[in-house]
């Protein structure tokens, strides 16, 4: 190895080491850095729960049962409903005398929904007609409302199916009553081993976000802080290559980002049951590419911003749309077409997409090669522009 290169590599590693030591010594900062990903994951995980019926975030939600009919079928139905609700921990059912009293309770926030067994429920069934159960949910939170509704409706369906089967058996049909009540049914077959988990969607996205954003904002902050406090002059006045300085800072930020990224993954596995199916090595490769694709942008912003505070605000400005447009928190397909194009112009989309495929679907390198190619091109293009701008800004 030529001497100059070895020296540069050495300087690079020393700058990275120094930055990490400095960071390690800032205990509060370090603690915040560790708590942050955990907090973000749980917040977003519970805020945007999976909409599949299998996972209901509103466990034991209080709802009201209003019986306007006192017939045998009504009582039987109410008992079965409560039993299923309690055994599946879906609802905590309270009896209310009238719909209006239950409605008032929704307004004060005491309950989340109402199941009404209307008058004539038993009579209809007795006279061999279809009967109706009314379900109301607190619609001020539409997402919760629809979950409450679908959960309650599925309990009703179970009771109804059971009733149907018993009626068919009584009719003397020797075959499977399900053949009549539900001739075709659905079973979910997952792409991956276990059942899907919203966190499995979120975790890779958050890993990508933390690593990439940590580098973007961290690099900018680290450089502008050193410029402001004057220590950058101490480094620049030494016989070291400018690229080695930038590279050293990048390494330190990347190491920080990777620690945080794997912390998120570890916690998601531990706390939220996320399973990793892909290769950890490939995950690191993808994250490093994500970092490289953003480092240039970070450097350009740092070079343009007159001081640290502005640099941070500029990073925030970049960070926010990227967070929401790169398909990290919800699938990209939910966005209107033009916004999808904006999102796809951002490298974070490709980093998150590749990482998700590796973690959840155990994709191999040649299955994510398109993402990798885009990230590599992005890295070269942005760093190619950024390094001369940065060097010029530093010797101004």
């Amino acid at each position: 190895m030529p001497n100059g290169l070895r020296h540069n590599l050495y300087i690079m590693s020393r700058i990275a080491q120094k930055d990490l030591l400095d960071f390690w010594k800032a205990k509060m900062l370090f603690a915040t850095f560790m708590v942050m990903p955990l907090l973000m994951m749980s917040m977003f995980g519970f805020m945007f729960p999976a909409t599949t019926a299998t996972s209901n975030p509103y466990k034991n939600a209080p709802i009201a049962m209003v019986m306007e009919d006192e017939g045998s079928f009504a009582i039987n139905f109410a008992d079965q409903f409560k039993e299923i609700a309690t055994s599946t921990a879906t609802f905590k059912v309270k009896d209310f005398p009238s719909f209006n009293s239950a409605r008032d309770e929704i307004l004060t926030g005491g309950i989340k929904g109402v199941v009404v067994i209307p008058a004539g429920f038993t009579e209809a069934l007795d006279s061999r007609r279809q009967s109706v159960v009314l379900i109301t949910a607190d619609d001020t939170n539409p997402q919760m409302g629809s979950i409450i509704y679908s959960e309650a409706a599925s309990i009703v369906r179970v009771i109804s199916d059971n009733l149907g089967r018993s009626i068919i058996s009584k009719m003397g049909n020797t075959g499977d009553p399900s053949f009549v009540t539900e001739p075709i049914t659905v079973e979910r077959m997952n792409l991956i081993g276990s059942r899907t988990n919203q966190f499995e969607f979120l975790a890779p996205g958050f890993m990508a976000l933390t690593v990439v954003m940590g580098t973007l904002t961290g690099l900018g902050a680290a450089i502008s802080r050193e410029k402001e406090q004057g220590t950058m002059d101490g480094i620049m006045v030494a016989p070291v290559s400018r690229n080695a300085i930038v590279a050293g800072k990048m390494i330190a930020q990347t190491v920080r980002g990777l620690i945080q990224g794997f912390l998120i993954l570890g916690l998601s596995m531990l706390l939220f049951g996320v399973q990793v199916y892909g290769s950890p090595l490939l995950m690191v490769v993808v994250m490093l590419l994500g970092v490289a694709s953003f480092a240039g942008i970070g450097l350009i912003v740092t070079s343009l911003a007159p001081e640290q505070e502005t640099a941070q605000m500029m990073m925030m400005l970049l960070q926010f749309p990227m967070m929401f447009l790169s398909g990290l928190l919800f699938p990209m397909d939910q966005l209107p077409g033009w916004l999808q194009w904006v999102g796809k112009a951002l490298p974070l989309y490709y980093a998150a997409d590749a990482l998700r495929k590796v973690i959840v679907l155990s994709a191999s390198l040649n299955q994510i090669y398109m993402d990798v190619v885009v990230l590599v091109l992005y890295s070269f293009a942005t760093l190619g522009v950024a390094i001369p701008i940065f060097n010029k800004a530093m010797t101004r």
């Binding site: 050495y10 120094k18 004057g230 220590t231 002059d233 101490g234 620049m236 001081e307 101004r396």
Partner: protein, 323 residues
Amino acid sequence: MSWVRETRNQIGNGASGGQPGDRVRVTLATTTFAAILDSRVINWLRLVAVTSPGRVRVPDGELMEPIITTHSLTKKFGDFVAVDHIDLEIMKGEIFGFLGPNGAGKSTTIRMLTTLSEPTEGTAEVSGFDVRTQADEVRRRIGLVAEKIILYPRLTAVENLMFFGELYGMSRTELKPKINELLEMVRLESFKDIPTGGYSSGMRQRLNIVRGLLHDPEILFLDEPTALLDPQSVRFVRDLVKELNANGKTIILTTHIMEEADELSHTVGIIDHGKMVAVDETAFLKGKYKCETLEEVFLELTGRTLRDSASSHVPMRRTMGRI
């Protein structure tokens, strides 16, 4: 002695008589005349140029040789000319007091000489190397003690010094005894494992100076080394500067404290509005302008007007490089 200077003035400026910045022009003139004068005359002129009266304090028998030379050194920030075609010569082994009002171009000149800022025009040679094309060679030979303390507050003295020493390619085994020796010199050995953020201003500045000395530079740039320090620390730093100079280091000292410049410098250079208005031995300047103190000379040359308006001309981009 005065005949020497008179002769130099005549060579440098024709019949115009003594003007601030004489010494500088002499060398330039030497070069210009070189083409037409007999070589013996040139040698005589060189001798005259280097044996100026300001040199008496420099170790005996050693002929002056410039260690820093600038030609038309200029720095512009947009339309603002911060440093305006400066020709300067700083001699090896001297303490050069670099003075000037706020915003006169001191820091920008220092930044160019220390390779931190690229000149817009002109050249500068430090220790024989061009600041632009041989920056790393220059960097190896200079130490910078800037106005802002160059230390990481969360790291200890040893960690700071190790880091900065390693930037100069020094190994840890090489650095260890060096660091101990330097810490002892500034009496900080018992605080070496404490984060520097907890140091007093005086301790921090002493450590800051030591940081600039780790790689044993030929030239030490000291930018206001005693600003904001208590009298004890000021005395310590000034004595340290003298000691370092006595041990052979060329020192470029920037300060606003005229007594300090008077006490320490062999030569002072006064810059104003980006131009050198005087470069000479302090005693000579006092005599020339019939002033008792260097402060009077300074005010005589740079005027008494406050310089508050200067900074508003500076475009925002200028702050970037300085931050």
